[in-house]
């Protein structure tokens, strides 16, 4: 995809997003809001998995941490503005990402995967036991505060208003993530995955780059977590559980980790499939698992790779000279 066409695509998608409330029923608008939030979560996850090649099994700790700290802030600070609630959520994840990242950044591969899972479990254990703050198994219910702007306030009680807020903020965050992959920092991350030795030789401190990336993706996941709380007006320990990490892993992987837009597609497919399968059977996680293992075995590039291949066949886009598709396709 040419870089010039990207602003056009963004504008077209945004325009389509603006029209959605007039076209969709309440049920589907609700679903679309959820998809937007999970898209951001999946995109942040893919910055780790697809771009940096770091397999984390603990992304839900950031998502859940922000979800809880937003809820706790709204409950305990009366009259808290919406922006500040989100800010508190994101700020805690930045702090957590920095501390955990500095403990983990020396490890890669299996070690990293294992340690992230362990830390996720720590967060989960704390959330379960610290009943007075997190509500334990009961979770926390909140009311969305009104959106305060300079000239007045907008009530977010209606789904349509909240949908627009989500579209703007989450959409902007996704665009920012895309922009991030084109900055010098984003390129450094890519090159580090391809050849870390050489990057070190060229004078890059790869540990610091990895720490920055880890903290950044944590903060983005945190933003998604804050919106998750605001969307459902409820947060339970499932938001911080390993299942939430599994969900994002499935989204990113099913959509395809080799493109920027793959995880967004994955979030769409996951939420729609989940809605469809959970109507049919109580065993839908089993089918999700089977689909996942099938894709690991046979379609490791995910749906986006399938789409790319089909497009290549149909329109004869240039071959990527036999190199790994990842190196070629990641920068969109």
């Amino acid at each position: 995809m040419k870089r010039k066409s990207v602003p056009l695509i963004i504008i077209a998608l945004f325009a389509a997003g603006v029209l959605m409330p007039t076209l969709l029923k309440q049920y589907y608008l609700n679903m679309l809001t959820e998809i937007l939030i999970f898209s951001l979560y999946a995109v942040s996850y893919n910055l780790l998995l697809g771009y940096a090649g770091l397999l984390s099994f603990g992304h839900a700790m950031f998502f859940g941490l922000a979800a809880f700290s937003t809820a706790v802030a709204i409950i305990h600070i009366p009259g808290l503005a919406l922006w500040n609630a989100i800010l508190i959520g994101v700020a805690t994840t930045v702090l957590a990402g920095f501390i955990i990242g500095s403990l983990l950044l020396r490890h890669k591969g299996s070690y990293f995967a294992l340690l992230t899972l362990a830390f996720n479990s720590l967060f989960y254990a704390v959330a379960t036991k610290w009943h007075s703050v997190t509500g334990g198994d009961d979770g926390l219910s909140i009311k969305r505060p009104a959106l305060e702007m300079g000239f007045g306030s907008v009530s977010l009680a209606s789904l349509t208003n909240f949908y627009y807020l989500t579209l703007i903020i989450v959409g902007a965050a996704i665009v920012f993530c895309w922009y991030f992959t084109h900055t010098a920092m984003g390129k450094t991350v890519l090159l580090m995955r391809e050849n870390e030795e050489r990057m070190k030789f060229l004078g890059y401190n790869t540990n610091i780059s990895r720490l920055i990336l880890f903290t950044f993706t944590g903060a983005v996941a945190g933003l998604a977590g804050s919106f998750y709380t605001l969307h459902f007006q409820f947060v339970s320990i499932s938001a911080i559980s390993v299942d939430m990490t599994t969900a994002v892993l499935l989204m990113a992987f099913v959509g395809g980790t080799k493109t920027f837009w793959g995880p967004i597609l994955g979030a769409f497919v996951y939420i729609l499939l989940q809605g469809y399968l959970s109507d049919l059977t109580d065993r839908w996680p089993l089918f999700m698992g089977l689909i996942f293992v099938f894709m690991v075995l046979f379609i490791p590039g995910g749906l986006s790779e399938v789409i790319m291949n089909v497009r290549q066949r149909l329109f004869g886009k240039k071959e990527n000279n036999g190199k790994s598709a990842a190196a070629e396709e990641v920068p969109l």
Partner: protein
């Protein structure tokens, strides 16, 4: 105070179980460089198979202790041969994803077949009774777990360091290509190692049934503790697994006694301290 010996013995029993789980995990990791996220799920399968075997009579404990590892051995061999070997060429991330996906599927299947609630396994006979020790009466079964772990650990050490097979295994860790060139069927060895790891997890599962209850979350619970054992002990180190299991077993046990509110965090705290001071683990190589 009678508490100290009781909690000490509790710690030993849990350490024994932890060792049985983490020994298989660390063995597979050391040999094949595959971190098997499905290991704890296979341990859970062992516990559930054992429940089904023992459902009618408690006297069948010994039967299930022999049968379940064999079933898990076969499952492990099949997983290695038909799934893991396929993704091996794609690298670590794919292998991790595969084992993670398998763990997910196994957990869901267990919920499907046995239900999403705890099942109690009662142990009868001599193992279910108590004996006096250190001036207290203590359940025989917990001592039995510890002895099992000692037995398995000894057998593993003997195989690894005293037999020809052990030499091949240790050589395959260092340079599998060279060992392959020397005429050893390395893929077969790897399949055997993976299947043995699975069998060991099944054995641990059978043992765990009567100690902890059998429920779909049991895999997740032990997996984290086993991971912490591996991190603290050092990746792929059998000796490290012994020391770290004892350390964490006792820490868990006395943590409940001394700091009841902090007890869940203590294990993670230990892991964080080890990560800061010696990231490769107590017995790990740099």
């Amino acid at each position: 105070m009678n508490d100290v010996p009781v909690f000490f013995l509790h710690g030993l029993a849990y350490a024994g179980l932890l060792f049985l789980v983490s020994a298989g995990l660390t063995l597979v990791f050391g040999m094949m460089n595959v971190l098997n996220f499905a290991h704890a799920a296979m341990y859970m399968l062992g516990a559930y198979f054992s429940y089904s075997i023992m459902m009618r009579s408690t006297g069948r404990f010994w039967l299930s202790l022999m049968v379940c590892p064999v079933i898990l051995f076969i499952i492990g061999a099949l997983i290695e041969r038909f799934l893991l070997r396929r993704v091996h060429k794609f690298g670590h991330v794919q292998e991790l994803l595969l084992t993670f996906g398998l763990a997910y599927i196994i957990t869901e299947l267990v919920k499907w077949f046995w239900g999403n609630y705890p099942l109690a396994v009662n142990i009868g006979g001599t193992l279910g009774s108590t004996i006096p020790i250190f001036g207290i009466t203590y359940p025989v079964y917990r001592i039995f777990i510890f002895l099992c772990a000692v037995f398995v650990g000894t057998v593993m050490a003997l195989i690894l360091y005293k037999t020809r097979l052990g030499i091949i295994l240790r050589a395959a860790v260092n340079d599998s290509e060279m060992v392959n060139t020397l005429g050893v069927n390395v893929p077969l060895v790897f399949m055997g190692v993976f299947a043995f790891g699975a069998a060991l997890s099944g054995f641990a599962g059978v043992i765990a049934g009567p100690l902890l209850s059998t429920f779909p979350g049991m895999a997740q619970e032990i997996l984290i503790d086993a991971f912490v054992v591996i991190v603290v002990g050092g990746f792929g180190s059998l000796g490290g697994a012994v020391v770290a299991s004892l350390l964490i077993g006792e820490l868990q046990s006395f943590g409940v006694l001394l700091f009841p509110k902090l007890s869940i965090a203590l294990v993670y705290l230990l892991m964080a301290v080890v990560l800061i001071i010696k990231p490769s683990g107590l017995f790990g190589e740099e």
